[in-house]
């Protein structure tokens, strides 16, 4: 069942057009003057000089966490690239040999233009190696290739993780 919409009739002044037009120009002029004087009505942010406030759980650019000895925590298990719905993570595994952790990523690349920032890689990682809490907004680049960030760039944002590698002994 429909309902009745109240549509007020135009008054004679409104139908006359010119009066209303003058009123509108008046508002626009008022805003122009006020903005020129004190930017009273602008909502534009002066990005990037003026950075936005991100929430604590904001998923920004990825970073790779570090171990005590400065190496990447990542063991190249490929669980992040398995979980990734956009298939933007490319990992090439290498071999440390008879180390405590024998596997490491030779190459770790994320294509930030392909990434959908869903956070599945963080969820999947068993080593707390990849995180998206860097608070860095992925920057626009001039070339697509520049958006493929590699291991060096990802580690630069990284820091020590308090999670114990290989779990805890009870």
């Amino acid at each position: 069942m429909g309902y009745k919409v109240n549509r007020p009739e135009f008054t004679l002044a409104e139908n006359a057009y010119f009066v209303e037009m003058a009123k509108g120009i008046g508002v626009a002029t008022k805003h122009l003057v006020e903005n020129l004087a004190s930017r009273k009505h602008t909502v534009t942010r002066e990005y990037p000089e003026q950075q936005p406030e991100y929430a604590a759980r904001y998923r920004g650019q990825h970073r790779l966490m570090l171990r005590d000895d400065g190496r990447a925590r990542c063991v190249a298990c490929m669980l992040c690239s398995t979980a990734c719905p956009a298939k933007c993570i490319t990992i090439q595994a290498g071999d440390y040999g008879d180390d405590q952790v024998e596997k490491y990523p030779i190459k770790f690349e994320i294509d930030l233009l392909v990434c959908v920032y869903c956070g599945m890689c963080e969820e999947a990682c068993p080593c707390d190696a990849i995180r998206m809490d860097s608070g860095v907004h992925a920057a626009p680049e001039l070339h697509r290739a520049a958006s493929r960030v590699g291991k060096v760039d990802l580690l630069r944002l990284g820091e020590l993780s308090i999670a114990q590698q290989g779990g805890t002994f009870r």
């Binding site: 071999d95 392909v114 080593c127």
Partner: protein
């Protein structure tokens, strides 16, 4: 002998006396978990995973070893059996490092599967796990991780019973036991990589495949090994449109469960100098241009000299379909000179390896006979060129041994058209090269030394628009206005050749073994190529 009636989980089956409970359960459709049991090896019953409850003994019996008795009732899902399984797994996992993210076996690990199926409970251990040597080079092709070993001794039994080389043993006792080679020896028998397949956990891993790719990314297809004339059945595991490894596939008549190490390495041969486009006078051209250039060159040669001066070099590595296509082209042109190349003969052994290293010599000979043609060995071509009888060749394949006099003689030829998947000394300097598919990229059949024709299923996506050899030959023939049949697929070529050579018949639509892990990208790494990283 009369059959025995046994009841397994309520299903009654009749089996001959002497059957193990495990085999009877298989017949009843009941799966009993095992680690150490393998159909082809002796049964030590040491993993205790297959313990089941019966009405004939107060204690649980190992199903892999105990034979059935008349009136036996076996239960595999009762609380007692399940509790025992859980405890068995708890013992096995007591010192097993749970480093599945690093372990190469993860995804195809029997321990992982059994843990999730039968235990899935947290560790109650409060002691540190034993540490043992990791990433030990136990053999030239096998890497050993002592921590992960559950001492099922499958590898030890394989070396004792199948390869009969006996390099492996179990040293130490109890929780310290580990697999080791005898002093001064290494796991270097010709079948050592089968221990990797046998290993239910990640203790023995292939050094070649190690860390190359996670197994759940791999796609698979059934195929046949190209290493020798035995024709071992294999599974081609591929990812990113490259072959990552070969695995043996069970075939009671050909290779049982095994394949040799040399055969597993043959995939590398087809990755070296892979041609991704045709060449005319050394310049890369699209396939259709290479095919028309080949046809024009053959036409000009036949008009200038005569078709008697034209020879065809055939490869015993081509599939039957490819050979049939090339022979059809030769016959349409009226060629009578044929030479057969192929890999040089090597060593044979008692188990699988044959001296003839070509997978399809039998098929090639059968097809030549079916068309009433004869061929000479490739070495005879040198004298053929020297005497001036041969002025041009159409050359198939790259897998021919180096031969300096022949290489020199080839430079004198007026026409060299090469149909090959990989560049080699035999294609350098050729007037026209037509890039064709490898056997991994094409459907087809090979006939092994015993005369058994076996089906190859296409595993890889062909690069660009590269045709199979039979199609390339047919298109060259049609460009020369020769009366060649219009084949639409390898299947239609196969149907035609089976009519001519009925001994090559086989089931075309067998189980393909196709398994999709992650879709193959036709151009691997195309993103990286299109947008190379700067700075």
């Amino acid at each position: 002998m009369s059959l025995i009636k046994v009841k397994i989980d309520g299903t009654e089956v009749e089996v001959p006396p002497g059957t193990t409970i495990l085999k009877a359960a298989e017949q009843a459709g009941v799966e009993i978990p095992t680690f150490c049991y393998h159909d082809a090896l002796t049964r030590p019953a040491n993993c205790r995973m297959c313990l089941v409850n019966t009405n004939k003994a107060p204690k649980l019996l190992p199903a892999c070893y105990s034979t059935v008795m008349d009136g036996m009732e076996v239960t595999t899902t009762d609380p007692k059996t399940e509790k025992t399984r859980k405890s068995t797994l708890e013992f096995i996992l007591l010192h097993h490092p749970v480093d599945c993210p690093i372990c190469d076996q993860a995804g195809e690990c029997t321990l992982q599967n059994h843990y999730f199926d039968h235990s899935a409970s947290k560790s109650r251990s409060f002691t540190r796990k034993n540490h043992k040597p990791k990433a030990v080079e136990i053999g030239p092709r096998v890497t050993f991780d002592a921590e992960r070993c559950i001492v099922c001794t499958r590898c030890v039994r394989f070396c004792d019973e199948v390869s009969k080389s006996g390099e492996l043993q179990v040293v130490q006792r109890g929780e310290r036991s580990e697999i080791s080679t005898f002093p001064g020896r290494s796991l270097d028998n010709a079948y050592s990589l089968n221990t990797v397949d046998l290993c239910p956990v990640g203790a023995l891993t292939s050094t070649d495949f190690r860390f190359k790719m996670r197994v759940w990314f791999l796609n698979s297809a059934n195929s046949v090994c190209s290493g020798c004339a035995r024709g071992c059945n294999i599974i081609v595991d591929h990812g990113e449109n490259r072959v990552q490894r070969y695995r043996p596939r069970y075939n009671a008549d050909v290779n049982q469960f095994w394949m040799c190490d040399a055969g597993r390495e043959t995939y590398q041969e087809f990755q070296q100098q892979r041609l991704d486009s045709g060449r005319v006078s050394g310049f890369e051209v699209p396939t259709k241009d290479a095919l028309s250039a080949a046809a024009a060159a053959i036409d000009a040669f036949v008009k200038e000299r005569s078709v008697d001066a034209l020879a065809f070099v055939l490869s015993p590595l081509s599939t039957n379909e490819d050979t049939w296509g090339v022979l059809a082209l030769a016959e349409a042109l009226g060629v009578t000179r044929f030479y057969v190349g192929g890999r040089a003969a090597g060593q044979a052994d008692e188990l699988l390896v044959l001296a003839d290293k070509n997978p399809n010599r039998k098929g090639l000979e059968t097809l030549l006979a079916a068309r009433g043609l004869t061929a000479e060995p490739l070495s005879a071509l040198t004298t053929g060129i020297a005497s001036g009888a041969v002025g041009g060749v159409v050359w198939v394949g790259h897998e021919h041994p180096r031969n300096a006099p022949l290489e020199a003689a080839l430079q004198k030829l007026a026409l060299r058209v090469v149909l090959t998947s990989n560049a080699s000394v035999w294609s350098t300097g050729a007037s026209v090269i037509v890039a064709t598919r490898t056997f991994e990229e094409s459907d087809g059949t090979w006939t092994n030394a015993a005369g058994k024709t076996q089906r190859l299923f296409r595993a890889l996506e062909p690069l660009r628009e590269i045709p199979p050899t039979w199609d390339a030959a047919a298109r060259i023939g049609r460009a020369l206005s020769a009366a060649l049949p219009l084949w639409l697929s390898a299947r239609s070529v196969f149907d035609e050749l089976v009519r001519a050579a009925p001994t090559l018949a086989t089931t075309w639509d067998g189980p393909s073994g196709r398994k999709q892990g992650r879709p193959d990208v036709p151009n691997p790494g195309f993103r990286a190529q299109a947008f190379p990283r700067r700075g």
